[in-house]
Homo-oligomer: 349 residues x 2
Amino acid sequence: MSEITIKDIARICGVGVSTVSRAINNHPDINPETRKQIQAVIEQYGYIPNNSARNLKRTESNGVAILIKGITNPLFNAMVKVFDEKMKRYKLSMILQHVNYEEDEVAIALELIKEKRLKGIIFLGSNYYYPQGELKKISVPFVLSTVGTIFEDEDSTRYSHVTVDDVRESYKATEYLIHMGHEKIAILSAETRDSSVGRQRMQGYLKALEDHHIVENPKLICPVSDELEHYSMENGYLTTKKLLDSKEEFTAVYAMSDIMAVGAYRAILEAGLRIPEDISVVGFDGIELGDYLQPKLTTLAQPVERLADATFELLYDMIEGRSGAQNLIYEGELVEKESVRRIEGKERS
Amino acid sequence: MSEITIKDIARICGVGVSTVSRAINNHPDINPETRKQIQAVIEQYGYIPNNSARNLKRTESNGVAILIKGITNPLFNAMVKVFDEKMKRYKLSMILQHVNYEEDEVAIALELIKEKRLKGIIFLGSNYYYPQGELKKISVPFVLSTVGTIFEDEDSTRYSHVTVDDVRESYKATEYLIHMGHEKIAILSAETRDSSVGRQRMQGYLKALEDHHIVENPKLICPVSDELEHYSMENGYLTTKKLLDSKEEFTAVYAMSDIMAVGAYRAILEAGLRIPEDISVVGFDGIELGDYLQPKLTTLAQPVERLADATFELLYDMIEGRSGAQNLIYEGELVEKESVRRIEGKERS
């Protein structure tokens, strides 16, 4: 499939290449009739002017990369949808790239910057920790989104992030279960070497137990497998199945992402147990799917639209030179649905 | 945030700009020691060579656009994951753009071609019909994927598509229900003015009824709302709810996409009915989520990996000039899970 060239257009119109060029560039020095004729031919053949200066300017100026860790998480899907709408409005184009769990997103970002002339970068679901100097290498504006990154650099305010406070929100989710009378609370956590939000959510869980004088039971801390995508239905399913097989007693499962909770549901129901009569379940994220589960999933909902909106607007302001780096923290919300039962006589406050 | 320039590097190294340029371009005419020193400084400061010829070449040559109609459909998510892996391997970059149902994907493609120098385009979930001459305007190689597009152009073989035969597969899904003894089969279909796969899947449904001498009941044909994303949980839920409220009798629901079936499940269970004891459900697509529903969803599974693989490989061969347009049709498979009951004494063969 070879493209039609300016020479073809000139030949078809019976004029010289320079005349076609003048028509394309709206040069005044051309007969209006000829211009009209040339434009008609250009349209008819779908010819796209191939002026390299023009293209250089265009290709340079409008790419924004989104680097996503955790492709199958519907949370990011919902955010990408917001970015997509915004980018269209601002005439930017979205370059989407998935990053595997074991890959280094900064290295991928540097490669993209080399290959493209990016205007900016949004990191979704990336690490919460970067070694000193690591992020300094990134030469375009960027925002770390949905992750409360801790920077080892002397001056952490030089980088932007937009997120909930994962420690605090995870504390809220755990405390909700405690208030409902649960003490034996299993957690489906990120794998042990996790360096993403998983570690912070684990901290919130442990702190809530401690503050309510509940002794932590290591057998109820269930890291998902490192062999599979961490935050996935399959991993939530297999990890819950293992927990059930262990015969360790528990009355509630706190899944640190809704998509894991979907897997937990399946494992619990397959074992012939009921939700919430036998086992209560709480998720984290607030994805739409939670409302379609049976029973509906109680979850710590992130303010997805606001996070996505703030992420994009901050990046755009940085690109336009209207803003420096900012750290924006939003509040999550425990949304009560149908997956948690109250253990009578055991409510704490 | 201003980028470090070649001048800065030269100043830091105490050499001229041309020496830095020679170091960057691996010019032989430079002292190896100096080159080493310059490269160290370049690395230290994360300087990215900004040679416009080099950038032009790079930006020109490696973008492939994916235009998706139906962002929340996990089917496309699974396909994008395959594309992402392939693009990394072939050093291409993926420009992802969502297309709303009411938008014209060809117009968006033409705009992207103008702005970027695309190598090629993949259309996911686009229309099944284009007016004559419409696709001819697209000047780069492209593949229509997951849609058995019917071309009005005299020579339809000039365009590529990779898909299942939606009429035939939908026939299989409907016939499976008939073989299980169902006659009152409701269909959750695309909205009435649909010009996507919905129309073809409807044809398959009607043909299967006809071939088995079952009179079509218009009250059991339930188009989803045009106000919402067509293939979505919410639309499947609301449409099924309306059907249940209508009190029209039926024993099975055939949802023409799994994601609609998720919504149908919710509506059926909320109404106090059981799946499959009271209502059987069959989906279409074969998304992972179906296996996590309670009961597991019986569905007409598309060969997602193979479709994605074939789509990308065909596009790549077209880009490389090794292939012309091709129409590749793959077989789907009815995967029996737990959501359909057999109506005893009524099985047909």
